[in-house]
């Protein structure tokens, strides 16, 4: 008998329950009634459910044992408590808002730093094609005097600009360098232009190595940008909430 409940039944438990409350659609009701005609098990179940519901409804209608009206003191105390709670919520919201703003600024500073170093990196890497005079002086420090000299005379246009820069740089470099530089320039003169082509070769190889570090920079830039957007949006949202709290 009990097993019948586990067999797939045309009438669900939910339909039986709803039929106790008269909450079946016409079609459902017809189907349930037709089924009840033939299924003694469901008939009994329904009777038991009806009995249960009737008993629940017949439970004593207890009245409140006393008045729960609020005394003026209770009302005042609960109002004070509400004010205190609201104040706490407000200060918490303000603290979160300030924290988020700080985080946004920190992310912005990170982005500026990364972009700045990226620009510096990029212009050094791109020096081979469109170097400015300033970058040439940078690379000269890294190069051997011979190469630098070769470049100064060979690959760079022998414009006035180079000459303008060289004296400017010279005081910054150790005093020994300047004569060497000149010596090297003389030496390069002797070797003629071929050495300029040799000097250009390592410069072209450099961008390939920089691609990897560029990728990293892009990742960091993207992450910093994401952080700015995320923190900024949350800070904005928190501030709006905080303003709303102040208004209410």
């Amino acid at each position: 008998m009990r097993l019948l409940g586990f067999r797939r039944h045309p009438v669900s438990e939910e339909e039986l329950s709803a039929s106790v409350d008269g909450r079946l659609s016409n079609r459902q009701r017809e189907r349930v009634e037709a089924h009840l005609q033939s299924c003694a098990d469901c008939r009994r179940k329904l009777e038991e459910l009806r009995f249960l519901v009737a008993e629940l409804r017949a439970l004593p209608e207890t009245k409140a044992p006393r008045s729960f009206a609020l005394s003026p003191e209770m009302a005042a105390a609960t109002r004070r408590e509400a004010i205190r709670e609201r104040h706490e919520e407000r200060t918490a919201a303000r603290r979160i808002y300030l924290g988020l703003s700080g985080a946004t600024v920190a992310a912005a500073i990170l982005l500026i730093a990364v972009v700045g170093s990226d620009v510096a990196f990029f212009s050094r890497g791109g020096g081979g094609e469109s170097s400015t005079n300033a970058t040439t002086t940078f690379s000269r420090e890294a190069m051997s005097p011979a190469e630098a000299g070769a470049e100064a005379d060979g690959s760079i246009e022998p414009g006035d600009a180079t000459k303008d820069v060289a004296p400017g740089v010279a005081p910054l470099l150790p005093t020994a360098v300047a004569p060497e530089d000149r010596l090297a320039a003389d030496a390069a003169d002797a070797v003629e232009t071929p050495s300029a082509e040799v000097a250009a070769a390592p410069q072209q190889a450099r961008p390939v190595a920089e691609d990897a570090s560029h990728l990293w920079l892009w990742i960091v830039e993207g992450a910093a940008g994401g952080l700015i957007v995320g923190f900024g949006a949350s800070a904005f949202w928190m501030r709006r909430r905080w303003v709303q709290m102040n208004r209410s």
């Binding site: 438990e13 939910e14 329950s17 249960l52 409804r57 207890t62 009206a69 609020l70 009302a75 609960t78």
Partner: protein
């Protein structure tokens, strides 16, 4: 028995319809901080709230405490009541408060349920309309039903109490609990099925026709 149900429905309908206009006025005034208006609402609904708490918690002192808390928090949160049915709003606060209380209780279990299992508890017999000669069997049955309610999972218990004990419609319950009608129906049917099984475990308490069917 059907007359009892009809009577209760009628009382509920009268409660909610005749006070409709007053209620709107009272809630409006209570929102502006009028304590007298709020207390008029308390008087109007304290029985409904207390009854829900009592059936949910099966403890008279706990039901009193929670009922008081419900009205205190309703007073504090009256701003968040934006029209609609005040009773549903209040019952939602009450249902949540009962759930919180029961969760708290689970963390530090109480030794007794304040006489909930005791057949002489007012939970089962205090009712002006019932004679003191009410049969012992009936009292035992009620105590068994209350114990059965306490054995239901919370989500089913609250639906069964609201529907079968308090007489709310499916629609009202869905508003109180903020769940769909389908959810109300399924929780109700599962709760009733479970309660029915619990009831059948003590067939000797049931009236004659239910005793010998196996």
């Amino acid at each position: 028995m059907p007359t009892n149900v009809a009577l209760r429905r009628w009382k509920l309908a009268r409660e909610s319809s005749s006070t409709g206009v007053d209620e709107a006025l009272l809630t409006e005034r209570a929102r502006t901080g009028d304590l007298a208006a709020f207390n008029a609402l308390v008087e109007m609904y304290q029985d409904v709230v207390y009854r829900l708490c009592l059936r949910m918690l099966a403890s008279i002192p706990a039901a009193e405490d929670v009922t008081q808390d419900v009205f205190l928090s309703a007073y504090r949160r009256i701003d968040s009541f934006r029209g609609g049915v005040f009773r549903a709003w209040l019952l939602r606060i009450a249902a949540n408060a009962c759930t919180d209380e029961l969760r708290r209780r689970r963390h530090r279990p109480q030794v007794s349920l304040d006489g909930a299992g005791d057949d002489d508890s007012p939970l089962h017999l205090v009712d002006g309309s019932e004679s003191p000669e009410e049969s012992l069997l009936r009292r035992e049955l009620r105590s068994h039903i209350q114990a059965g309610l306490m054995a239901l999972p919370l989500d089913q218990r609250v639906v069964v109490v609201l529907c079968d004990v308090q007489g709310l419609t499916y629609e009202e319950i869905s508003e109180v609990l903020n769940v769909s009608l389908g959810t109300v129906k399924s929780r109700l049917s599962r709760g009733r099925a479970r309660l029915r099984e619990i009831l059948l475990r003590q067939r000797e308490l049931l009236p004659h026709p239910f005793r010998h069917t196996v």
